[in-house]
């Protein structure tokens, strides 16, 4: 079969069990990857799976359906911990891209500069993968295995992004540095989420994108921030904290610059997030 547009998840999973597909949802990655050439693989258009569209908030946390678009996310009533993710949503391409592209697709495409990854890492996000064999949940950092590589099996479909209740607390921030205002691929991104108690950091999450094959959390910095007074956070950040980054030189910037900029963005994001607490 060369094309299918199922309307129920179980049918989609049946298709995936039978052959390899190019999965199409918002089209914002599939089509740019096929400029000037045909899509040779069979296409599974999952945009009709309406059950995957919603963003739900429950006691257990927040569940972002795999077909939820960036603009759906922006319109959702979500706690301040999601402000950083919403800031990222506004900076995804343009309104046109936000109205088509899905948050889940951004993860499946696994670009090092994916806008959604750093804020979702600060939200301790997991992804739900379904197949006819099983339904499994993987932490985001285990799902993203390398440069444009994921743990998604050929018969699996991402069905949701899950944020646990305890990660929906606190305040957050996101910063994207690019060479122009709109429609820009990041040079560096920083995302921060802080939960506080008594004027001090109770829990910190810091993630950097576009400075390694996969966006990563700066866990040493997160530990050093824990317990720190909220008005002194930028001073805690040192260049040692960005050691885990492995940026490259490319058209957009040099590697040393990316390290420097990551430090600056993290400091600024910490100040902003702390100011929102």
């Amino acid at each position: 079969m060369s094309f299918a547009r199922p309307t129920r998840l179980e049918h989609a999973l049946d298709h995936l069990a039978n052959q390899a597909w190019c999965v199409l949802a918002g089209g914002t990655d599939v089509y740019p990857a096929h400029v000037d050439r045909r899509i040779e693989r069979p296409v599974l258009d999952i945009s009709g799976l309406s059950e995957l569209r919603s963003i739900d908030r429950t006691d257990k946390g927040v569940r972002i359906g795999a077909l939820a678009r960036w603009s759906d996310l922006l319109r959702s009533d979500l706690p301040p911990a999601f402000d950083g993710l919403k800031q990222a949503a506004i900076e995804v391409g343009s309104v046109q891209i936000q109205n088509a592209g899905t948050v889940a697709g951004n993860l499946c495409n696994a670009s090092p500069a994916a806008d959604g990854v750093p804020p979702l890492l600060t939200l301790d996000a997991s992804v739900e993968l379904a197949s006819r064999r099983e339904r499994r949940v993987l932490p985001l950092d285990a799902f993203l295995t390398g440069y444009r590589k994921t743990a998604l099996q050929a018969d699996e479909l991402m069905t949701a992004i899950i944020i646990p209740a305890e990660a929906t607390l606190g305040a957050s921030d996101f910063r994207k540095l690019g060479a122009r205002k709109y429609l820009v691929i990041s040079i560096v991104m920083a995302a921060v989420r802080l939960a506080a108690a008594d004027g001090r950091v109770a829990k910190a999450r810091v993630a950097i994108g576009a400075c390694s094959p996969v966006a990563i959390r700066l866990t040493a910095l997160e530990r050093d921030l824990a317990g720190a007074p909220l008005d002194q956070l930028p001073d805690i950040v040192t260049s040692d904290h960005v050691d885990p980054l492995t940026p490259i030189d490319d058209v957009r910037a040099t590697a040393p610059y990316r390290r420097r900029a990551a430090l600056v963005l993290v400091r600024r994001s910490l100040t902003s997030a702390a100011g929102r607490l």
Binding site: R5, V35, S94, V95, N99, R180, A253
Partner: protein, 927 residues
């Protein structure tokens, strides 16, 4: 792939269609439904030209699968006129001059429509957020923002054609009349290169070298074709009946239509496959019997110019294509008189034109003639080149230019034309070809990368005593306009200043890079960056205000230029600088009061001059005007309007010269069978040269009509219905047009006006009169630099440009704003890397959020050589922006940028290594 039945509502109409389910919605709309108002610029969501509404939300149709509109509602630009808000937006776009070439306009309108209808507030920032996904390369976005905001505030009953009839006889020049070809640009009906290709046309796929330098051989092409139903033929160099070469300068015609065994740049055409569109889409290039052997490539000028470097063309040793120089005075003596001598080095990269319309063409054979419909800036040059390639007479070729979705110089050269013409000529079948975005970027010409060394000496009093310029320009694999750059740059490299001791040399050097050709300024913008930033350092070194320093050295009437040419009138650089003075004082004061935060505020200034027309070469234009019995005046206007507005300003000048109002004119746009040769749209020559030709044509027709009435030159003309009234004092003579004899084409009177600007050749030292006039300008940039990140945010650009006479002030502003946007790109983000940035997400051009407020000051120092005193403007406007930005960065931080673009990493590095490594920057006081 199977076909899928879908049902949808498109522009209010229910439709049922069989589609290939994953075809792009752009293809469904354009090809199946004929809705060509939705444009295709990139197929990757990078440009937004294909924006449509899907269930009321704006999306890029290029990334929507046809299967996904089943059961949904689609609205395209064609439906805007059915809605009150849509009509308001259209009227506001036309009234505010928000459409130039018009290729982005449908996407802009649809995106604005979606935002306003969902109740977004209309602050400038909100408009930016709404339109940030649509790129425009012409307007600089400012008039688009104005129009969107105005659409909700202004009277909607306003109609563009009524506005035209408001302009009275003798009063068109100087009026901001709306674009005479504006309506079709806002209602989605304008036909660009890809829009008029008939359904029955065959398609072509051009096969290109994947290597910068390679040898290649073909296997059994015939067997390949025969095994694939739907394929018709493969064209290679062996199929070219005439000369397998094209170029733009007769002595440098060196670029093969198809490479002959050796490809000299990545993207060079080696063959083309002809077939029905579906077969061409199925074609797998990798399966073709074609073998490439990669050869060592030379991509750096430095290496290409070295002794012993492999010659890219055997007949050009040292890879030197052309060199130009200008020498005057005694440079050594001049340096000896200087108190301070400083040097400056600048490197700039390839810059891509990035018009939103990729090249497209269509050809059909009509008997022993070939007709080619294409987006072009140079119909007559195209005609002659195709005749040579096909081995036929020029009269056998007809070029029918479509609307051009941006050109900026690159659409002077041939692109799709030889391929469609050859295929249609050989097979007798109609053939269409539309470049994809990567193909357009890979195959088209670029701005020359430059490596420039400059040196200048100045006295303590601020007099420049000597200046030397040595510029190398990477002209890529073939000549294109490289010789023009080498000749034009040395004339302009010192800027609009008095320079008694001057030596400038420019060389165009071949590499295996993309072909560098014409791009708004022919190398002068690169030279201007070196020169204007060096002047700031000179002013600093002697502690003089930067504007005052420029004013002190500014050129003036009756003072010889570096080529020894003096102008009696029209040297307007002082007037431009004086116009900026109050703004400069204000900006320098404001800067001190800015809340710096992490930022450093800076103000920069830079000047330009630019000679209009070809450099020291003949450059004529002819315009034809005819009066019909029905009282219409037909303007045969072959000066291609690529968005700059030549259709409008040439009409305005013809109207005033004739003495009749604009609304009696009917425009016949370029068609090499109908319109006389008005030259190419380049070198900022159309307003000046074709304008003068139009003025002469208008005057000639007026004389003709006055003769019918035996009236003197003082008489006033009036055309009512079919009666021409000639009014002189109290005497009124009526001429019944029906009573006059007509020629075979139905004209009562038919005249031509021709103008060729007076120039003289340059001698061995570059002395002579290369241009009949120059235009001048000065721009001031205010900005903030984030000194921790090296990012630059522009606050305002104030631009004073001397246009001699503003034929249409709104179009002048449009040129200024658009040129500034391209200058911003050149300064801060544009960097084309062959093989690495052949798309519009790795190659960045400014978006709507990157162009700040622009205040245009129109300066009018009439030049007697120009029509109504007018000068050209198109290229001038881009030149000062980049150096003014670099000067403002220097002012803010002390950072001296040597390599462009000034991306955040380079700015930060320059701040830290700069002499003024303190964020306050050098101290400048207003003068």
């Amino acid at each position: 792939m199977i076909n899928l039945g879908i049902e949808a509502v498109v522009n209010g109409q229910k439709i049922a269609l069989d589609v290939q389910p994953t075809e792009r919605l752009t293809a469904t709309l354009r090809q199946r439904l004929g809705l060509t108002g939705t444009k295709v610029g990139c197929d990757a969501g990078d440009c937004g030209a294909c924006s449509v509404l899907l269930d009321g939300e704006v999306v890029c149709a290029c990334m929507v699968a046809a299967s996904q509109i089943d059961g949904r509602e689609v609205m395209t630009a064609e439906a805007l006129e059915n809605d009150d808000l849509g009509r308001r937006l259209q009227a506001a776009f036309q009234r505010h001059g928000a459409a130039q070439c018009g290729i982005c306009t449908p996407g802009m309108l649809i995106s604005a429509f979606a935002a306003i209808r969902t109740g977004a507030d209309l602050s400038e920032e909100a408009v930016g957020d709404a339109l940030g996904g649509v790129l425009c390369r012409c307007t600089g976005y400012r008039k688009i923002i104005q129009a969107v905001i105005a659409s909700t505030l202004e009277d909607v009953s306003w109609k563009a054609d009524e506005a035209l009839s408001d302009v009275h006889a003798d009063a068109a020049v100087g009026c901001s009349v709306p674009r005479v070809d504006g309506i079709q640009k806002i209602d989605g009906r304008e036909l660009f290169g890809a829009d008029g290709i008939p359904e029955n046309a065959l398609s072509l796929k051009v096969i290109r070298s994947p290597y910068h330098h390679a040898r290649f051989t073909f296997g059994d092409l015939q067997a390949f074709i025969e095994a694939r139903p739907g394929l018709e033929r493969i064209l290679t160099a062996d199929d070219v009946p005439g000369v397998n070469r094209h170029g733009v300068i007769p002595a440098f015609v060196d670029q093969p239509v198809f490479a002959e065994g050796r490809a000299r740049f990545k993207g060079e055409a080696v063959a083309a496959v002809l077939g029905d569109p579906e077969a061409i889409e199925r074609l797998k290039v990798d399966d073709m019997p074609l073998t490439f052997e990669e050869l060592p490539a030379c991509l750096e000028m430095e290496a290409a110019a070295e002794k012993g470097a492999t010659a890219i063309h055997d007949e050009r040793p040292g890879n030197l294509l052309a060199a130009g120089k200008v020498l005057c005075g005694d440079v050594e003596a001049g340096f000896a008189k200087a108190d301070v001598v400083l040097e400056r080095h600048i490197e700039t990269p390839f810059i891509e034109h990035a018009y939103i319309e990729p090249e497209a063409g269509f050809a059909r054979r009509v008997g022993d003639r070939i007709e080619v419909q294409c987006c072009t800036q140079a119909p007559y040059m195209n005609r002659d080149a195709l005749a040579d390639i096909l081995g036929i007479e020029a009269e056998q070729v007809r070029i029918l230019p479509t609307a051009v979705g941006g050109g900026f110089g690159s659409k002077l050269d041939l692109s799709t034309q030889p391929y469609v013409a050859l295929a249609a000529w050989l097979t007798g079948k109609p053939v269409g070809l539309v470049y994809s975005r990567p193909e357009s970027m890979m195959a088209s010409t670029k701005r020359h990368p430059a490596s420039i060394n400059m040196r200048a000496g100045v006295t303590r009093e601020g007099q420049i005593t000597a200046l030397t310029f040595d510029g190398r320009f990477d002209t890529g694999a073939y000549a294109s306009w490289g010789p023009t750059v080498a000749n034009r740059v040395p004339v302009h490299a010192g800027g609009p200043y008095t320079l008694p001791n001057y030596r400038a040399e420019a060389r165009a050097i071949h590499t295996n890079g993309p072909v560098a050709g014409a791009f708004r300024g022919f190398g002068v913008p690169q030279a201007g960056i070196a020169q204007e930033t060096l002047y700031d350092q000179l002013a600093d070194a002697i502690g003089m205000d930067r504007l005052a320093f420029r004013l002190k050295n500014a050129l003036d009437n009756n003072i010889p230029t570096v080529t020894g040419q003096s102008f009696r009138d029209g040297v307007g650089i002082k007037a431009c600088l004086e116009a900026l003075q109050p703004h400069w004082a204000r900006a320098c004061a404001d800067k001190e009061n800015v809340d710096r935060g992490r930022g450093a505020a800076g103000v920069g200034i830079a000047c330009c001059w630019y000679g209009c027309g070809n450099t020291a070469l003949p450059n004529p234009s002819t315009i034809k005007l005819g009066l019909r019995r029905d009282g219409s005046v037909v303007l045969f206007q072959g000066a291609v309007d690529i968005g700059q507005g030549s259709n409008t300003v040439i009409s305005q000048m013809a109207a005033d010269a004739l003495g009749l109002p604009l609304d009696v004119f009917r425009l016949e746009s370029a068609d090499t069978d109908q319109t006389p040769d008005a030259g190419k749209t380049s070198a900022s020559r159309q307003t000046f040269i074709s304008g003068m030709a139009a003025k002469r044509a208008g005057e000639a027709l007026r004389q003709d009509l006055l003769r019918h009435a035996n009236a003197s030159g003082e008489a006033r003309l009036d055309l009512q219905e079919r009666v021409l009234r000639v009014v002189e004092g109290d005497a009124i003579r009526e001429v019944m047009l029906e009573s006059l004899p007509v020629d075979e084409a139905g004209f009562v009177a038919l005249v031509e006006g021709t103008f060729d600007p007076p120039t003289t050749p340059l001698d061995d030292n570059g002395q002579g009169e290369p241009y009949a006039l120059f235009g001048y300008g000065a721009q001031m940039v205010e900005l903030m630099v984030d000194v921790e990140l090296g990012t630059v945010s522009l606050t305002k650009v104030t631009a004073a440009h001397d246009v001699g006479r503003a034929i249409n002030p709104q179009l002048v502003e449009g040129q200024v704003e658009g040129g500034i946007a391209q200058g911003i790109g050149l300064a801060l983000m544009e960097d084309y890397r062959p093989g690495r940035s052949e798309n519009l997400h790795d190659y960045l051009i400014p978006t709507i959020g990157d162009v700040p407020e622009v205040e245009t000051i129109i300066v009018e120092e009439p030049a007697s050589a120009g029509p109504y005193g007018a000068k050209g403007l198109g290229e001038h406007v881009l030149i000062p922006t980049a150096p003014a930005i670099l000067n403002a960065i220097y002012d803010a931080t002390g950072a001296v940028i040597e390599e462009l673009p000034a991306t955040p990493d380079r700015v930060l590095a320059a701040i830290e290594s700069g002499p003024g490594a303190n964020p306050q920057g050098p101290n400048h006081e207003p003068g």
